[in-house]
């Protein structure tokens, strides 16, 4: 597409690429097609605008930032989503302070979590489950969301090996605090996924 001469062919290719971008940014509409989140809409538009900016820049003079999309389009758009999320959710002051430093996990939470693991391999095999899980993780407070995301990538809660990054070290909180909030997060995920008809 970058080497295509200006004209109908290049326009067609550009449109296809823009549609790929649009389909890799979460939808903002409910089942009835009504927009439910202005912030999410702004994020979608930002990701699209960034891509258009790069196309325009590349048309004037070769822009190596567009190379990332050629190497791995989906990952490049994922990075754009992260940039737009950081800008808009920060603006909306979504970041919630954790209420207690070393708060105890209530008996109710412990009971609800049990040995529940939202990343159970059998469940993760199902595409619908993965999509619902993403939505459920998105709904968590930022601190809990980061714990869950790191947990998912096998980052240990605590490590005695200084060369190993732990969740506790990255987030600058005690092991106990991390465990407490992981359990709270898992309880929320379980509840939310159960409501959606999954266990």
């Amino acid at each position: 597409m970058r080497n295509a001469a200006a004209g109908a062919h290049r326009d067609k290719l550009t449109e296809k690429l823009l549609l790929r971008v649009a389909r890799r940014v979460p939808s903002v509409a409910d089942a009835g097609g009504k927009t439910v989140s202005l912030t999410k809409m702004n994020i979608r538009e930002d990701v699209r605008d960034h891509f258009v900016d790069l196309l325009l820049s590349d048309r004037k003079q070769y822009d190596d930032r567009l190379d990332y999309y050629e190497v791995n389009f989906n990952s490049a758009v994922a990075a754009d989503r992260r940039d737009a999320n950081a800008q808009h959710w920060k603006h909306e002051n979504r970041t919630a302070e954790i209420e207690t430093e070393d708060g105890e996990v209530s008996a109710q939470v412990e009971l609800a979590v049990g040995d529940y693991n939202p990343f159970d391999a059998d469940e993760l095999d199902k595409k619908d489950y993965r999509r619902l899980l993403d939505e459920a993780i998105d709904s968590l407070p930022e601190f809990q969301r980061r714990i869950v995301v790191m947990w998912r990538q096998d980052i240990p809660i605590e490590s005695n090996d200084p060369s190993i990054e732990s969740i506790s070290k990255v987030l600058g909180k005690s092991e106990k605090t991390i465990r407490t909030h992981r359990d709270k997060a898992f309880a929320s995920l379980k509840l939310r996924l159960e409501r959606k008809g999954r266990t």
Binding site: D11, V25, A78, R82, A86, R130, R145
Partner: protein, 127 residues
């Protein structure tokens, strides 16, 4: 001891996005190497594992998003005035694309021809 060259957050994140494989220890490696970007790396890890259903047909909202992007690209058709300020290579490529003699191109670039005196594209050809 020589100082490590500072790598920008953007470069680190783009490299991580290209290297990432779920469950392959890539996040652990990047967290250890770039602790100053740990929050952004964690957030990006979430985006890199996000599931999209490619089987669902594009929505009206998707097409609207695309249409606005296409409109912006069309609005940005390069004008001669913009080209006059562009780097020499960009200008030379444009002149070649327009099949204009380079002397004419240079006359435009050096403002020896008044742009307003040039007939609009297509005038006198398609009626």
């Amino acid at each position: 001891m020589a100082q490590q060259p500072q790598i920008s957050a953007d470069d680190v994140l783009r490299a991580f996005a290209m290297d990432f494989e779920p469950g392959a220890g890539v996040l652990q490696r990047y967290l250890a190497r770039y602790p100053e970007h740990s929050m952004a790396l964690t957030d990006l890890s979430m985006e890199l594992t996000r599931e999209f259903d490619e089987d669902i047909p594009p929505s009206t909202a998707d097409f609207e998003l695309v249409a606005a992007g296409v409109a912006r690209l069309r609005e940005n058709i390069v004008t001669l005035q913009a080209l006059q300020a562009a780097p020499a290579k960009v200008f030379a490529d444009a002149i070649r694309l327009l099949s204009l003699p380079m002397q004419v191109g240079l006359a435009f670039r050096e403002r020896r021809i008044e742009v307003a005196t040039v007939a609009p594209t297509g005038s006198g050809e398609d009626g």
